[in-house]
Symmetry: C2
Amino acid sequence: MDKQNKLAIIPLGGLGEIGKNMTVIRYEDDIVIIDSGLAFPEDDMLGIDLVIPDMTYLVENQDKIRAVVLTHGHEDHIGSLSYLLKQIDVPVYGTRLALGLVECRLKENNVANYKLNVIEAGDRVTFGPFEVGFIRVSHSMPDVVGMYFRTPVGTIVHTGDFKIDYTPADGKIMDLHKFAELGDEGVLVLMSDSTNAERPGFTKSERTVGIALDEAFRGAKDRVILATFASNVLRVQQAINSACKYGRKVAIIGRSMINVVSIATELGYLHVPEGMLIDIDDVKRYPGNQVLILTTGSQGEPMSALTRMAMNDHRKVEIYPGDTVIISATPIPGNEKSVSKTVDALLRLGANVIHEGSAGVHVSGHASQEELKLMLTLVRPQYLIPVHGEYRMLISHGKLGEELGIPKENIFIGTNGQVFEFTQEATGVIGKLAGKVTAGKVFVDGSGVGDVGNIVIRDRSKLSQDGVIIVVITLDKVRGCVVAGPDIVSRGFVYVRESGQLMVEAKQKVRQVLANCEAGKITEWAAIKGSVRDALGKFVYEKTHRSPMILPIIMEV
Amino acid sequence: MDKQNKLAIIPLGGLGEIGKNMTVIRYEDDIVIIDSGLAFPEDDMLGIDLVIPDMTYLVENQDKIRAVVLTHGHEDHIGSLSYLLKQIDVPVYGTRLALGLVECRLKENNVANYKLNVIEAGDRVTFGPFEVGFIRVSHSMPDVVGMYFRTPVGTIVHTGDFKIDYTPADGKIMDLHKFAELGDEGVLVLMSDSTNAERPGFTKSERTVGIALDEAFRGAKDRVILATFASNVLRVQQAINSACKYGRKVAIIGRSMINVVSIATELGYLHVPEGMLIDIDDVKRYPGNQVLILTTGSQGEPMSALTRMAMNDHRKVEIYPGDTVIISATPIPGNEKSVSKTVDALLRLGANVIHEGSAGVHVSGHASQEELKLMLTLVRPQYLIPVHGEYRMLISHGKLGEELGIPKENIFIGTNGQVFEFTQEATGVIGKLAGKVTAGKVFVDGSGVGDVGNIVIRDRSKLSQDGVIIVVITLDKVRGCVVAGPDIVSRGFVYVRESGQLMVEAKQKVRQVLANCEAGKITEWAAIKGSVRDALGKFVYEKTHRSPMILPIIMEV
């Protein structure tokens, strides 16, 4: 692109999805990156551990990158930072809590060289042509910021993940005045959180959860086991406050809960009264009504502490009748089934389970429609780019913008990789779509980054449906005739001990194919393999109505 | 068990799950079966097509079985009937619509001998010691019945799937009077639908959906595409009524929608005005605002008509900007993600998508708490067995019973296979748990019934995560040395073209293991295979942090 006096906004993740948020702000030869998140794999991404944004554009333009600025410390905003920093040397700016969580993750991933710079809400930092200011917002963790970029073309405001909480649990109220002030001065583009853009009304205050938790604690006659997102430090604090009030000691379990509690305590975000924490092994020394167990597993994740307890498979904690289990979260889309399985299993063990949204033990961390309207009204941007949401959420957010008077052509419903370009024209600043850069999903599987692609996933999918049948044949190098085999091995197809006859017939089928090949002077391996695959596949389908992967392997002696 | 004057209720499916409903009612040597349903596989049942109840108990007692009585024609109540009838010759009783759907399914499954007997709400039939009466209830399809069993020990009432709809779309109101009359006479056991036992209030009338659909039709400027459950004949009728009112022709697409519409029309449950149906190929001959397309796919099922349209992959229907797509259903738990993907894809194609619960285009077919309380109050049973629900729903239903004064010990929260036994004692009839019979899940995969068990599923799961590596070696029969190979083939592990070096090293690793075996005079195949599996598994994990299935295969020449 012709760079002259052009401002570009390029989302590399977070549009049309919940997850892997990452946005490039570019002016001529200077780039600042907002966030570097990850996404969790969808059901059809078999065996994949994480999904990160395609960073090709960043690697190609690495000499231009001045900084990564973070809105907050959630995985979908910081989770791919270690992959970015392994490729590009760039300083990172974020609040203390966000950087505390980042550092923990960088160490786990063996990233040695990093430059972390603490900023606070209210700070301003200059990166080349950009003056970046950080604005306090409310969300489901403390110390979260939105930001504004003053650029030669105009001001960009990015809300980050936010809700408007007039009674946040830490008393630190979102800086609505700053958004209003920016709006007064004139804002070119607003990028705003779309997660709850389909939800009417206002999102409830985190404070209401504190009240609901307190009520649950008061009513509990035996142990309380509370599962929530580890990163929701304010909720953890509220639970600890209630535990304190009712004379309960606190034991913590689950790797990420232990990590976050220790980081947040160390950094002063979490205050646990002296002598209140006990080791999980010591829980049994206290009467049930003096115990709170804080744990992970609110999403029914198979390996998490709560799920293991529910399945009676946890090394340290057993569930007893009379325990009160509070699941302080709503299932993330896709986790509904596993959460309800966990609930059912806990009920079977006799626990009292508090999990319904109606019980008030969870509220969202994202703004609903009325809050989004307030943000739009305060900032009154010339252009709106809904971010952080699946397509229908972006659309819904766009409609809210229209209702509030933003011209339809100034609302950009984008996809990852699209370049939104803003230039100063005689009539004012004009925004338009200006092509695309490389963007997409990169799969992380074990230690491999990007080595598992569609072909491998397709094979895994096929294997998962009907298994695999392997046919091994040894041929004589000179004469071309079969000297050993065919041997047939299967996995995930049928239970072989109970299907002996089928396997015998399958072998006969292959023998017949090989005899035909020999008779027909077919000696090319590819042709022989193809014939075996076709004939055996057809035979197996007729017999079982299944289509396992068929893998003929030929050896030569 | 000692049979003398004992009445037993034995659920073989439907407790602790939504799906595969089947209940045995036994008095001494006579058995009647209520429903014979199927369940759809859960996410971890890889490659499985259907799940049916374990019928061992029925096969063992087949000489005692007098009849199968059906509450209605949904798959979770009739879907395993063909598997039952292939094993046991027993007459089936149901309403005309239920039997119409049954017959269609039996033919598809090549069941030749069957005896279907039509009953109507209000009918009574005697099977040995049982007088069975059928009672009209409201649900999400027409012609649904609950039933009562008069037995020598007392009366059992089974609600079937029901809601209380004072304004059902077909005007046929549930026979509350009969439930009241039975309650007056005295009921021993009530088995009642627990699906919505966690939901407060009343379920809305199907009539309200008709109103919402009509509004959506009135507002649509181009084609209307409506996806709903094919079996919801009353909803289909309401859609057709609105289409008629606004001058739209109706095209039908999707196998089950075509089937059900034709069966329901033939049997007189569905009334389509003359000349209103058009072929899907003729849709293009009409202006958009004169077309309604009725389709399946309200659950985002990958192969369904609506999903294919959304993915731009349907042979006959393309989605255009301006189309109104109505998804008249809520996602069944587990389908949330696929439904929202479909919605997103439709929006990207420019369609106007109406799918929110708030739009009123769907209501549940099951009773909420206030309706369950009404049923409990009318029937006032001595014992309550909550049925048709996951564990937490049964528990919730049990609590409602307690609130209404049923003693806790008379509320049975059961699991499939449990025997609930009722005997006449001096003090009255006493119910208790009396052991278990064989019950469980049988997997149907292709044409195989029960031949895929846990081992096969575990293999499929492992294959789906990290794929498979196959190592083939040919040994000399006499000398025991390697004469060909090792050859390594992998699928679903890494993309081999980009991982050449890894595969070369893997081969070297195996060679080394084989050399060690030879040097150590290890010639047993099992030992060689074990060594290869261990060494290669370790090598691969170190290099990739993945654990593919490793399959060593040895051949001999």
